[in-house]
């Protein structure tokens, strides 16, 4: 079969757009570096006007950052472990519940009402209930983070299935697939994009919830360590942990961006960015 010029690909010059995306990333990194430098400068200026126990100078903060990383690294690992476990559980549970809600209209509408209540519940109430109801520290943190993150995944997956292109499903049904095949090859990949995008929105917030929960319910982890530093008036350590948390957040976002570019490379915006 011959092919005429009218069938030329719609997207050409991928290299050009890819280098454009690369320049955009470099620009973002430079701006971030400039903003960080500005913060450090402001910190240094503030430290000159205030005693060390209120705002320490930049070298002290950097020294404290190194100290918390080398001497209290286990607290960082504990927090990251709790975060990873809770997020993974939320993803899996959210996926299952979101799909279950989408399978039946009544279940979906009822589930939507339930998740609305969950989303409206204050974080502090959830943390206090977790303290009252669960003895284990790990269970408390896990429950709090899941409670906060899970509704976002449920709603995202549910909405994603609801908005799937029916024509696409119809096109697949011409081959008369089983329900399992339709789920595995159409619904699951379709909702993957949603789950990744939700994780990008929820991850940073969830990490903060983990630390916040640790302040109130745990005896280990970054939150607990920050509370101890506050009790001992070690402001430099609080600044040190803050720097660590900011860096962890950036790394987390960068990792998720990379995951998005890899797994969602089929999307036009990611295809030109990869």
């Amino acid at each position: 079969m011959t092919q005429a010029s009218v069938d030329m690909p719609a997207v050409t010059g991928k290299g050009k757009t890819a280098s454009g995306a690369g320049r955009k990333r470099v620009r973002k990194t430079l701006l971030l570096t400039a903003a960080s430098a500005l913060f450090l400068l402001l910190l240094q200026i503030a430290s000159m006007q205030t005693p060390d126990y209120i705002v320490p100078d930049v070298p002290t903060v950097l020294k404290a950052t190194w100290e918390v990383l080398t001497e209290q690294g286990s607290d960082l690992l504990v927090t990251l472990g709790r975060f990873a476990l809770a997020i993974l559980a939320s993803i899996v549970l959210g996926w299952i519940l979101g799909l279950a809600m989408a399978s039946q209209k009544v279940v979906g509408e009822f589930g939507e009402a339930v998740t609305r209540i969950l989303l409206a519940t204050p974080s502090l109430s959830v943390i206090l209930f977790a303290v009252l109801w669960f003895e284990s520290i790990e269970t408390r943190v896990f429950v709090v983070v899941c409670f906060m993150a899970l509704p976002f995944y449920i709603v995202a997956v549910y909405e994603s299935v609801k908005t799937i292109d029916r024509d696409l499903v119809e096109a697949m049904r011409q081959f008369r697939p089983t329900r399992r095949q339709l789920f595995a090859h159409v619904l699951f990949p379709h909702t993957t994009a949603t789950v990744i995008m939700t994780t990008k929105s929820v991850a940073s917030f969830s990490l903060r919830i983990v630390v916040f929960s640790e302040v109130l319910v745990a005896t280990s982890g970054i939150g607990s360590s920050m509370l101890k530093a506050q009790s001992a008036f070690k402001v430099d350590l609080i600044f040190g942990w803050t720097v660590v948390l900011i860096v962890v957040n950036f790394l987390l976002m960068a990792g998720l961006d990379l995951l998005e570019r890899r797994l969602l490379r089929w999307r036009p915006e990611n295809a030109v960015a990869s």
């Binding site: 719609a10 011409q174 081959f175 095949q181 090859h185 490379r265 089929w266 999307r267």
Partner: protein
């Protein structure tokens, strides 16, 4: 055993007998009867709202006739849903490709649903993409393909399962004229070499007479107004097609 282009009774491949569809008081298909023989290409020509989509939905098993019978290779598309697996394939107006799959993986889709093993289906999909002129675009995602290329992938996906019956649902109408003409020609060549039976639903008079052996003109609601055997017409004489077009067009509007 039912093989390609054969059916349980050994007669026609597609058969509608007094097929009637109504939605409340609205009649979409009015006791429609026609047959499509093995290896034949039949066009169903009708205006928007003539019930063409309803006919298509009945044939793929998405809709049951209110009364009358619908048979594809001797089977009821609704009641014998699973028995028709792999025997019927459709190319739609828009390509409807899975955006997260490459052109190659999209063509593999039908074969995957039919349980063809991985290596075999990869080979078949690559071969079909080659045959529709997209051997160079195996790894491209749908958004990296032009409209014509996407439609070729859709056609390759439908034909890769080696169906006895191919349905085209306005498959070329969303394309520009040059691409549409080219794809129509390609489709006819494929139908002749692969010897499948085709039912083409379209509102384009040119397309119907170019592709089909037989053209069934529908009125509104869907009922047969006229049937044309395209082999009997010679359009080489200037104005002959225009005269036919005018007649058919008036019939469709009636």
């Amino acid at each position: 055993m039912i093989t390609k282009n054969s059916n349980a009774s050994g007669d026609c491949v597609i058969e509608l007998k007094d097929a009637h569809v109504s939605f409340g008081d609205v009649v979409a298909v009015d006791k429609l009867s026609f047959q499509v023989n093995p290896g034949e290409r039949v066009a169903i020509l009708g205006q928007t709202g003539a019930g063409k989509s309803t006919i298509m939905n009945m044939l793929v098993g998405a809709l049951a006739a209110t009364s009358g019978t619908v048979r594809v290779v001797g089977l009821d598309p609704v009641a014998d849903w699973h028995a028709l697996r792999g025997k019927i394939a459709v190319a739609f107006q828009d390509a409807r490709l899975l955006p997260w799959r490459t052109a190659h993986a999209n063509v593999e889709m039908g074969l995957q649903f039919l349980g063809v093993d991985r290596r075999k289906r990869r080979d078949i999909a690559a071969e079909w993409l080659e045959r529709v002129g997209l051997g160079h675009a195996l790894t491209r995602y749908p958004h990296q393909l032009s409209g014509g290329m996407r439609q070729r992938v859709s056609l390759a996906r439908a034909l890769s399962v080696d169906p006895g019956v191919v349905l085209l649902d306005e498959a070329f109408s969303a394309l520009d004229e040059a691409t549409s003409v080219q794809l129509r020609g390609d489709f006819v060549r494929l139908a002749q070499t692969e010897k499948f039976t085709a039912l083409i639903v379209t509102h384009s008079i040119e397309e119907a007479f170019e592709i089909a052996d037989r053209v069934i003109v529908l009125g509104r609601p869907a009922k047969v107004m006229a049937t044309y055997d395209t082999a009997e017409y010679d359009f080489s004489e200037p104005g002959s097609f225009e005269t036919l077009r005018k007649t058919v067009s008036e019939m469709m509007r009636a």
